[in-house]
Symmetry: C2
């Protein structure tokens, strides 16, 4: 089967990482919608949270998410939920990501559409975030999730700044859901030839946005298997490309007498991000994706 002309990715986070039967029922709700495909399901018992990566045609994905949110509200009670990861809802976060034949603005529309249905039909308060945010202080997920489920219970009623974009101004046991649109997120880690975690921490501070570094980089320094690692989320590879991050880390590491031993991509990365890397290092000024044989074959045969 040829790939659909229009594809979005959606990565809903559910506040259940322990009861496999609950996770299975949520997955089944998503699978019940044709033209939606699940790429990955990751459940973390410590976080008590599951992250489902799916792709599909835009309208189908909205439908699948609605069913999954309804199912999660039925099976997960936030009053009984414990876990390390911050959360405000049974379905905690639902980001739409443009993949193919779809713009960011299209994804903002999908987020609003889903948000309205969830608010009105399920009675769950919905906050729009990132590219779909209706106010600047809601672009950042952390602001919306402040105080978590327990804190929001009171604040949603009393604080006008915490009024949801859709749905009632009160929380039931399913909590509230954050829905939005963002760019594809690349999880990328760089390892250094040292067991001194302080070097990784200093480099993380240098490259990440929050402390003065590159705009679309979140970074932490940690020790993994006895090796210092700079662990990152790259939240917009088009504006802050991987090669620039790596070369900055390389230079900072050199200043501490260190080098990069290797790096790793966790999960998936768009082809464009990898081609950008090859193009930059080879200095291929006029390169276009149509020069990739497989892309050209799709153009000639696939359509």
């Amino acid at each position: 089967m040829a790939l659909p002309q229009r594809l979005v990715e959606c990565v809903p986070n559910f506040s259940e990482g322990r009861r496999q039967d609950v996770i299975d029922e949520i997955v089944a709700a998503i699978r019940s919608v044709p033209r939606v495909w699940i790429l990955d399901v990751e459940s973390d018992p410590d976080h008590n949270r599951s992250v489902i990566t799916c792709v599909g045609e835009p309208e189908a994905v909205v439908d699948a998410m609605f069913r999954a949110i309804a199912k999660a509200a039925e099976l997960i009670n936030l009053d009984e939920h414990e876990g390390e990861h911050p959360r405000i809802g049974a379905t905690d976060v639902v980001p739409f990501v443009p993949l193919r034949g779809v713009t960011m603005q299209d994804c903002v529309e999908l987020a609003r559409l889903l948000g309205q249905r969830v608010g009105e039909e399920l009675g769950i308060p919905v906050y729009l975030y990132e590219a779909a945010a209706t106010r600047p202080d809601r672009e950042n997920l952390a602001n919306i999730r402040k105080g978590e489920y327990e804190g929001l219970k009171e604040a949603i009623k009393s604080d006008p700044d915490r009024a949801p974009d859709f749905g009632p101004r009160e929380l039931g046991p399913a909590g509230a859901t954050v829905i939005g649109a963002r760019e594809f997120l690349i999880a990328f880690n760089v390892y250094l030839n040292t067991d001194d975690v302080s070097v990784a921490k200093k480099i993380a501070r240098a490259v990440r946005h929050s402390s003065g570094g590159l705009r679309y980089v979140k970074a932490l320094g940690m020790l993994v298997g006895g090796q210092a690692q700079v662990s990152m989320n790259l939240t917009n590879f088009k504006k802050t490309p991987i090669f620039r991050v790596v070369e900055m880390i390389r230079r900072e590491a050199a200043r501490y007498g260190c080098t990069i031993t290797h790096s790793e991509l966790v999960g998936l990365t768009p082809l464009e991000a990898m081609l950008d890397v090859a193009q930059w290092y080879l200095q291929l000024d006029d390169f276009t994706a149509s020069q990739v044989l497989e892309r050209r074959l799709e153009e000639v045969i696939g359509e």
Copy 2:
């Protein structure tokens, strides 16, 4: 339409680059076979030669090539052919290239199959070359083409070393055809920040196989638009990858006080070659092509 599970590339060279009606008839002969797609037709009047790039299912491509060779034999008379490029036949060279679901050995079989049909049914002498060669001195195209059409006329009869693999030991006006199997060829040029062509020539000598450099590199130094250029054919990007060639040129250029200003890929390149570049520079030890989102989508949706 989804891409076929088995695909070969074929890049036949015909000794006609001036008469458009002849080129059109050859192209039409290829197009008359279903499941074969033409990606590119390049005609050079000075060389009096056309290169057609096509892809398709293996058996269909063999059929299309047979029809094209028959058509070229009907319309091109080597006794009347002039051009700068060395040639021995109306259809001069026909390389098969494995693309997808097909091995190099499969392509060797296709070359033999086509060679036998061309020799027996069309009475055109056929030499097998590169991976399909039946003797080591026929791996190199230049050896087979020695003396060109005019020289081969006599030699094919008198010299046992010039006996063809298929077909008669005498040349008609369609000459002989060289058929074989090889890896995908990447045409890659690197530009230097100098107008001194001697630097490009020295670097070309350093990196190319024939004068002691990298195994699967052919290189020439030239002046293009007033800028020194190292012009290359990379004949096996799996064994001599692009990044290694570029880094060697970078180092050699530095020795002459020069740097690379930019580079270019002429025509198409397999995705794998570009991913290899990104993987090497980012030091992504455990990267696999399945981590490319689009590849993953094909696996999940496309099959």
